[in-house]
Symmetry: C2
Subunit: 241 residues, 2 copies
DNA sequence: ACACAAAACTTGTTTAAACAAATTTTAAAA
DNA sequence: TTTTAAAATTTGTTTAAACAAGTTTTGTGT
């Protein structure tokens, strides 16, 4: 169902906001006006606006209207947001990605791996260690654990290009939810060997558990980022629940 | 409108999930069953479930059902998620907070401050520097800039307790959206002076711009966290938009 | 000119209904 | 027993309508 109407309206409004069609702090047309403009129901409009709210593009105010609070960011460094592959992020930030596979092995989850990753003991896994370059600078070391039941026949060529492309286009595995944790950790010998850390003695570490559309966790990844090129953006809304 | 029905259903389902009423990976009752159980419309049920999805509690699968993917986390360190004050986070993590005000001054935004904070040049601001303790360990240095038009009559007593409580309960300013950026930065002399950084030579830095219900940005904050106690959790869903 | 009330307008919540799309179950046929 | 088709179930999208709640505008009366 990728032809949802609210998604089209969302995209259209988003691009208009990004193009500066509405001033910063200006009110968007009211829901009733948008209903006429897009020839749809009010619910559909509200759904599109709701998506813009979670993106931090607009702010709704009961009785007043919907205010544009979008401000273009100067994305000088590698910025991560939603669920994206390294390749996708790089392209979005207009940079050239390259990936080097340091290691690709198969292993069975023991108690130690199970504790760290969340996979049950005994799970058959692929373990991949990769080095990600951006504009020929080594920025990220990735430690991936993939469930072999889901990610079948993983090869070095696939790992070098994009595992996510392989998952979505070849295996038709759809990624849905990803639980992430960000921490700061001391550098290891491996980090020091592959990344140019300069004076820094620690890294930004993003650990994530990813679920497919069957609700199965099929990936655990630890991404270790060179700190001077790490930037994570987020948009929080205070829930009245 | 805090008596919304979908919010009650959301809370009830959430507490049931947390209480282990549904097994991990088990399907929740179908929407139609929940409609009968809660005596409401299907839309209201869907709204509650939608909130659980964004919280990472459940996963919806078209044609199949709604799967519980909640796993209790071992929150050993200070974990931040939505828009919360330091005090709220501490209480949620069952720890004792204490705040020390290092400095409280008034200033006018020049070009340098404007660039860093996003406030227009000439804005009248309060600048507050605070040290946050958790169980008597100094963990965070906070640099706050508040718009004086909104945050009127800020005192050291208020800053020591909770500015957010003052905002919501006294000034009736409702916080709505917060744009956050996480980075890793080298320590400064101030960081070194007040925080016990051990071997670490950098910190986790969270910068945020906070908007009130009028769509006005009234706060800019930079929180500098002791890295070994910093943990940020997130839940990303792949959008098909 | 000012104050106040009413009306109009805006977003927020809820219900009801219909259909689409994906999956599972059931039943029939080979 | 196995296969296949139909039916039932489940979530996803959209429309229409009504009312609630907050804000702004309008108009009336003093």
């Amino acid at each position: 169902m990728p032809k949802a109407k609210y998604a089209d309206i969302y995209k259209d409004l988003k691009s208009k906001i990004e193009a500066g069609e509405y001033e910063f702090q200006e009110l968007l047309p009211s829901e009733n006006h948008l209903v006429l403009a897009y020839d749809c129901s009010r619910n559909t409009i509200r759904r599109a606006i709701s998506a813009l709210v979670t993106d931090g593009y607009v702010q709704t105010m009961q009785g007043k209207g919907v205010r544009n609070i979008f401000q273009p960011t100067s994305r000088t460094s590698f910025t991560i947001g939603g669920i994206e592959s390294f390749k996708e992020s790089a392209i979005r930030n207009h940079q050239t990605p390259r990936t080097e596979v340091l290691c690709l092995t198969e292993l069975t989850a023991d108690i130690k791996i199970s504790d760290r990753t969340g996979f049950p003991v005994g799970s058959e896994l692929y373990y991949v260690q990769r080095l990600h370059y951006l504009d020929e600078k080594a920025l990220i070391i990735n430690h991936n654990y993939f469930l072999k039941d889901v990610v079948t026949n993983l090869t070095e060529e696939i790992a070098e290009n994009s595992v996510y492309e392989y998952l979505e286009n070849v295996l038709h595995v759809s990624i849905v939810t990803s639980k992430r944790t960000m921490t700061v950790e001391k550098m290891t010998e491996i980090d020091e060997k592959y990344l140019d850390l300069g004076d820094y003695n620690c890294l930004a570490v993003v650990s994530s558990q990813t679920y497919n559309s069957d609700g199965i966790m099929f990936e655990y990844t630890q991404s270790r980022h060179r700190p001077d090129y790490f930037r994570f953006q987020d948009n929080a809304t205070r829930r009245t629940l």
